[in-house]
């Protein structure tokens, strides 16, 4: 089965991103394909490498990055949502004249079309949000 996963909330404030992580892990464990994880709304805040959560809590951003690198996951951050909320990669940094960027390894910023295309390609869309 081929999945596209949508994550609508940022880390810590809502359980959504933890739920999505656990779901993605379980889907991979069961031998399914996760075609794409699409971060939308405040979900784009999962992708900043600037977080430093307490050591006794889950490091959500790093967990996404590790999961992506081990499973070749496509973690896509919506560009329009990212611009409203301050998530920047090198391309966005240049385009919008920012003095730095904060995207974490394994994430890429792209358009909403990636969500729609994901829904067309995949067998299932599963949404984690508020």
């Amino acid at each position: 089965m081929k999945y596209v996963i949508q994550v609508n909330e940022g880390p810590y404030n809502h359980e959504a991103s933890t739920s999505a992580l656990n779901f993605v892990r379980a889907a991979l464990d069961a031998g399914h394909e996760v075609f794409r994880v699409f971060f939308y709304h405040d979900g784009v805040n999962n992708s900043t490498r600037y977080t430093t959560p307490p050591q006794d809590d889950l490091h959500i951003v790093n967990t996404w990055s590790d999961l992506a690198s081990k499973n070749d996951l496509d973690l896509v951050v919506c560009v329009a949502a990212a611009q409203r909320r301050g998530i920047v990669d090198e391309g966005e940094q240049e385009r919008n004249g920012k003095d730095g960027n904060n995207i974490a390894p394994g994430f890429r910023i792209s358009g909403l079309g990636q969500l729609v295309e994901g829904c067309i390609q995949a067998d299932r869309l599963v949404v984690f949000g508020d």
């Binding site: 709304h41 079309g113 729609v116």
Partner: protein
């Protein structure tokens, strides 16, 4: 599975209090380029999204409600509004934007996009879709 999927955008939130209404609409606009079969449903507080007369000038934020009137140009012709949700909120279809599309199979006649449906009918619309995007 056919090449064209039935996309249902399920809108359940009021506008402005949260961004979901507006960012849902952004997906609909972008999604139009993919030429899928698109329906929008407004249920629960989602019916408030298409109330007419919205004016955000005193809040200083963007009024995105005119965009709903452009949906016909994006080939979005099926807009379902749940009757039970309207009734509970004291609203009728007269309180809503007058959304139209031009029917290319009927000499481009202008037709109403909004169809008021019951909860049971909406359940079947959800059932008939291939992908449900919830906002």
């Amino acid at each position: 599975m056919s090449d064209i999927k039935n996309f249902l955008y399920l809108n359940r939130r009021a506008p402005y209090g949260t961004v979901y209404a507006w960012e849902s609409l952004e997906v609909v606009l972008i999604g139009a380029a993919f030429e899928q079969d698109v329906s929008l449903a407004f249920v629960d507080d989602g019916v408030y999204q298409i109330m007419k007369g919205q004016d955000t000038s005193e809040l200083g934020i963007k009024n995105f409600s005119p965009t709903y009137s452009a949906l016909g140009d994006y080939d979005v012709q099926k807009i379902y509004v749940e009757k039970e949700s309207l009734d509970a909120r004291g609203l009728t279809v007269d309180d809503l934007l007058d959304l139209k599309y031009e029917d290319e199979d009927d000499d481009w006649a202008e037709k109403d996009s909004i169809k008021v449906v019951s909860a049971d009918e909406l359940a079947k619309i959800i059932d008939d879709s291939d992908v449900v995007l919830s906002f």
